[in-house]
């Protein structure tokens, strides 16, 4: 439905825009600026608070807030450029705003990239008529370890509170008091704990909200910006890395309207200091008599070659889903083509069957109904998807979560069964999905064949026929799909499971931190680890090769929509990167691997992406079209959903352990002190009934026990949690088995 065009005159320029277009955008279409502070369409309807956008409208006696008006046919608008009245109105607004603003631009982080500074230069008075003392208050206030608030600089545009209220819907930021004493605060002065808190820093049009990690670190004129893609999760938000002297100083959003709409989560925004972690591996390390010792690259490559040659036929590779497609492809070429080592532990990959229901994430916002299945809250797996779902709810969609804590409570691991139930004729929710023109399905949890079961449901419901519909799998790793595809594309031979394992090659931090990979290492004679952090290699690696972070890499990743996106090197790594040593090592086995990501991409793309040219990906990658539906391989016998089944089944506890996947977890997050408050608490969540039976209340110290192992945690009664479950963040669950008992300590 295309809106009719209306003709509007702005400063004597005539422009045609669709009826209902905001006046700010209408003027923009005519190439004219209506200056704003509070106006931000992503935050919902305009509020008209700051009064910066005052314009004169023919036929209206008073100046009007341009941001609150929409284009009407025949409207004649005059901005400061042609209306003395509008110019005076805007100058007045700036004069008022500056009455209490400290004008400490020389020491303000925002200086040089500050809308208040810019608009004051363009529309403001050159001098002040204010002769009284300015209002002063304590500053800066730490809203959280990540965000500092300077209330003197604040101009009360309410962008941050609107973000908290309307976008993140966490109700954390509020305005309190009134009149000149109005101030931004967190509710009850609690720390601003939200996975999305950093967005308010970017939204702030002045230097009131600043990043504690960036404060006083750089000036806009001595930084560069590098456009790249976040590798924190499978959403693949488009980001811009602020670089000063080859150091990543800050991450900002780069707004891909279909993926992230300009929002980032705090994991994506604030994990970059891990690049400078004290235990960062910058030279190769080899196990010696006194533990890991630094060796030269020549020695390291010799050792690696020796390890590989002596283990030929008995090599297993564990890959991280955070590797680029190029690293995975290069490594696969070396190991599979050079050594016929086909056996690998691959990250959870998204099923190709979902390609038939492909849609941009932005489609979620327009949905009539959104059904989420799986054990994990969406925000813990793909935070930005949670914002899209919040937006859908705000737009009137019915959002139904089916999980152990959902609107529909299902036991952990039951999502596959649930999909079958929904597909069955007569199921009420299934019928609603069938009737909806725009229905969205989301799989947020482990298992289910990487969304294969969801694809079967989507097909059953006929979503492949409906363009506004879609089905998404939220994988646990950022590029599991690309890595798995690259591994399989590099050679044709089938996997054989060597026993015993001669050499375990561990690629990347995720794999290095994975307990199941550690368990595999127990069965391996020797272990080669490529990692960024020494802490992940100590004690089990025979040879450590330094790894790099996503911000130091060139390459591509495939996000959860199936979009191929390009990473660009924002900062040079402190060591040769993976492709450099893989290339050198491959040469020793007669395999040709380029050390350049673009060349590796070109080779991999011919197998993977129908020769999609690297340059074609561009700064804002396009989403490929839908593929015809191909039924995925049927579900194998009850796939172990979630944690591995306990090896010893003799102990029967009363509660099923759910290892909760937490967003703020992993080796990089652990290395940023400021993120510590965001990490999951050492708690076990119980349903009210289970807690009551055990005489346990929130805050009680408890022992969570399974056969032969025990963890001390605090209890939290979760009213939404289904009975029969003990939910523990993965990082606090230790070696607990699938069946546990919780006892008051």
């Amino acid at each position: 439905m295309s809106a009719e065009l209306v003709t509007v005159t702005v400063d004597d320029r005539t422009v045609q825009v669709p009826a209902g277009t905001g006046l700010v955008e209408t003027a923009q279409a005519a190439g004219i600026e209506i200056p704003v502070f509070c106006y931000e369409p992503r935050l919902g309807p305009p509020v008209g608070a700051c009064r910066m956008c005052l314009v004169e409208i023919e036929g209206m006696p008073k100046l009007q807030a341009g941001c609150t008006l929409t284009a009407q046919d025949g409207m004649v608008v005059r901005t400061a450029a042609t209306s003395e009245k509008a110019a005076r109105g805007q100058e007045s607004t700036l004069e008022f705003i500056l009455v209490n603003h400290p004008l400490d631009c020389p020491v303000c982080d925002k200086g040089g990239e500050c809308p208040l500074q810019d608009l004051t230069f363009r529309y403001g008075p050159g001098t002040t008529r204010m002769r009284f003392s300015k209002l002063t208050v304590e500053k800066p206030i730490p809203l959280s370890p990540l965000v500092a608030l300077d209330r003197e600089r604040c101009i009360l545009c309410y962008r941050c509170t609107r973000f908290s209220e309307d976008v993140a819907a966490d109700g954390q930021l509020i305005a309190r008091n009134r009149g000149a004493h109005t101030e931004i605060a967190t509710f009850e002065d609690e720390p601003y704990r939200s996975p999305f808190s950093g967005n308010v820093i970017e939204l702030c049009p002045v230097g009131a909200l600043t990043s504690t990690l960036y404060r006083f670190d750089a000036r806009p004129w001595d930084i560069q910006s590098v456009p790249t893609v976040c590798a924190g999760c499978a959403v693949g938000c488009n980001v811009s890395a602020t670089i000063r002297e080859n150091k990543v100083k800050r991450i900002l959003s780069r707004n891909h309207p279909e993926i992230d709409r300009g929002w980032l989560c705090d994991k994506g925004r604030f994990t970059y200091p891990s690049l400078r972690a004290p235990d960062r591996v910058t030279t190769p390390l080899r196990r010696g008599p006194k533990g890991l010792e630094e060796v030269s690259w020549d020695e390291a490559l010799d050792t690696a070659e020796e390890l590989l040659r002596s283990s030929a036929g008995a090599i297993v590779t564990a890959l991280s889903g955070s590797e680029t497609t190029e690293i995975a492809f290069a490594l696969a070429k070396l190991l599979r083509q050079g050594l016929a080592a086909h056996s690998a532990v691959l990250p959870e990959a998204t099923s190709n069957a979902l390609d038939a229901f492909r849609a941009p994430l932005s489609a979620i916002a327009e949905a009539e109904i959104v059904v989420v299945v799986g054990d994990d809250p969406v925000v813990e797996r793909a935070p930005i998807v949670d914002l899209w779902i919040t937006q859908a709810r705000r737009n009137g969609a019915a959002v139904i979560t089916c999980s152990p804590m959902g609107d529909v409570r299902v036991p952990p691991g039951a999502a596959t069964e649930l999909c079958r139930t929904l597909a069955a004729p007569g199921n009420e929710l299934g019928e609603r999905l069938r009737r909806a023109e725009r229905a969205i399905l989301v799989w947020s949890g482990p298992g289910g064949g990487g969304g294969a079961r969801l694809a079967e449901l989507a097909h059953e419901l006929g979503l492949d026929e409906r363009p506004g519909s879609g089905a998404f799998h939220l994988p646990a790793t950022p590029n599991g799909r690309g890595v798995a595809a690259a591994w399989s594309a590099a050679a044709d031979a089938d996997e054989t499971n060597p026993e015993p394992i001669g050499l375990l090659v561990v690629s990347g931090d995720e794999a290095a931190a994975d307990p199941s990979v550690r368990a595999l290492a127990e069965r391996a004679e020797r272990v080669l680890v490529s990692t960024m952090f020494q802490g992940l290699a100590t004690g089990w690696a025979d040879l450590v090769l330094p790894g790099t972070g996503a911000l130091e890499r060139e390459g591509t990743m495939v996000n959860l929509e199936g979009r191929v996106q390009r990473l660009r090197r924002a900062a040079l790594p402190p060591c040769p990167d993976e492709l450099a040593w893989i290339s050198k090592l491959a040469a020793r086995f007669g395999v040709d691997v380029s050390p350049h990501a673009a060349a590796v991409y070109a080779e991999a793309a011919s197998h993977l992406y129908r020769d999609l040219d690297l340059e074609e990906i561009g700064l804002r990658a396009q989403l490929p079209g839908r593929a015809p539906y191909e039924a995925p391989p049927a579900a194998t016998t009850p796939a172990p959903e979630g944690p591995l089944a306990p090896s010893d089944e003799r102990f029967v506890g009363e509660l099923r352990l759910v290892r909760a996947h937490a967003l703020f977890t992993g080796p990089a997050v652990e290395r940023v002190d400021e993120l510590r408050f965001q990490r999951p608490p050492a708690e076990v969540e119980l349903s009210p009934a289970d807690a009551e039976r055990r005489g346990i209340a929130t805050g009680d110290p408890v022992q969570v026990r399974s056969n032969g192992t025990s963890v001390a945690l605090r209890a939290r009664v979760n009213r939404r949690l289904i009975e029969g479950v003990a939910r523990v963040p993965d990082e606090h669950a230790g070696d607990l088995h699938a069946a546990v008992e919780v006892i008051k300590a």
Binding site: V47, L54, L156, N177, R178, A180, T182
Partner: protein, 444 residues
Amino acid sequence: MPERPELVFARTDGGAVTDLEEYVARGGFVALAKARAMEPDAVIAELEASGLRGRGGAFFPTGRKWAFVPKPDRLAKPHYLVVNADESEPGTFKDREIMLRVPFRFLEGCLIGAHAIAAKHVFVYIRGEYEREFEVLRSALEQMHARGDLLGDVTIVLHRGAGAYICGEETALLESLEGKRGQPRTKPPFPAIAGLYAAPTAVNNVESITTVTVVFELGAEEYAKVGVEGSTGTRVFSLSGNVVRPGNYELPHGITLRELIYDVGGGVPNGRSLKAVIPGGSSTPVLTADDIDTPLDFDSLVRAGSSIGSAGVIVIDDRCCMVQLGIRVSQFYEHESCGKCTPCRVGTRWLTQILQKIEDGRADQSDLDLLLSVCDRILGTCLCPLGDSDAIAVASYVARFRDEFQEHVHLGRCPFEGASSLEGILAPSALHGAHGHEHEAVPA
């Protein structure tokens, strides 16, 4: 003595009718029956014919306001009638007397309004400090509940405010009623289209709603004979300040200030002379003693350079320093500014500061210019009328009493030198209670 037809307070014998049986015995709920026998459109037409205009301050025709509410078949959402009983304009205290003395006539008007706009829910947003008024209304509602036929399928909800002047602004009131921070919304959309819970809503003042009952008691034609052209009917004037008999007086529109102050109110006490009059609550421009023969109706007051506002007439005698009055008024608006839009939040405070500087004798000519310039920059640039109110009031004091302001500057002190008294003229804002922050002490 001017003629004093009692319409709003009819059949009360100067007292209160808080017993339902008594109200019915005195002809109560006949108007409701009459209105309910009519189609909603006819009810609205009758109101239009009566010439009834809003008593909250804006004087908008009540019938036309209701006509803006879309018919239920055109906008399939619940419709709401919201009554603004958050009376807080300094110098205005009529609605409380209406609620205390004729609670049933008021509630009857609510039901007529609900019928006219097809609302099943009426919300009465009552000022938090109005404890007695709330109890009277609650008792009246309970009595009506006991007789099922009166309320029909309409639910009337009494909602108490929490002490914010801004919640008398209709969109801030709606925000507050929804449980949000009381701050005005941008218009459009207007409440008639997207008001309470984004549904069609009419927001009317207590006196307006009560007068709706009067219109159906008398018939539009009879009602329109009272008052003057353009300002029909009676008005409950709140008379306060330096006057012998302050209080609420129901009088027809069009009586003069002289009649109200001298004939009804007994004039200025203690042989003092009249200096100024604020005719419609603190936000309206001041008039001087020379304007004493101005009739109290909409058009006449506009011609005199002021406004009938909420009909709160504040009488000021010759002891009053106009700069001090400016400080008192400006402090009120500064204190009550919600903080949402820039000019009001910053400007009201700045005005108070400049006025204080003038009063303290520290000001020079440029400060006087600055005062007017700040008024000018607030005026017409704010989100709602609160900031304008301060600017209009203060600018009018300077305009009408320029010499007095000038004298402060020339003498380097207040010409009254402590002899000034604002006794009885509005309450200092410190007496309104501090809300969330310590307020500076107000000079006596």
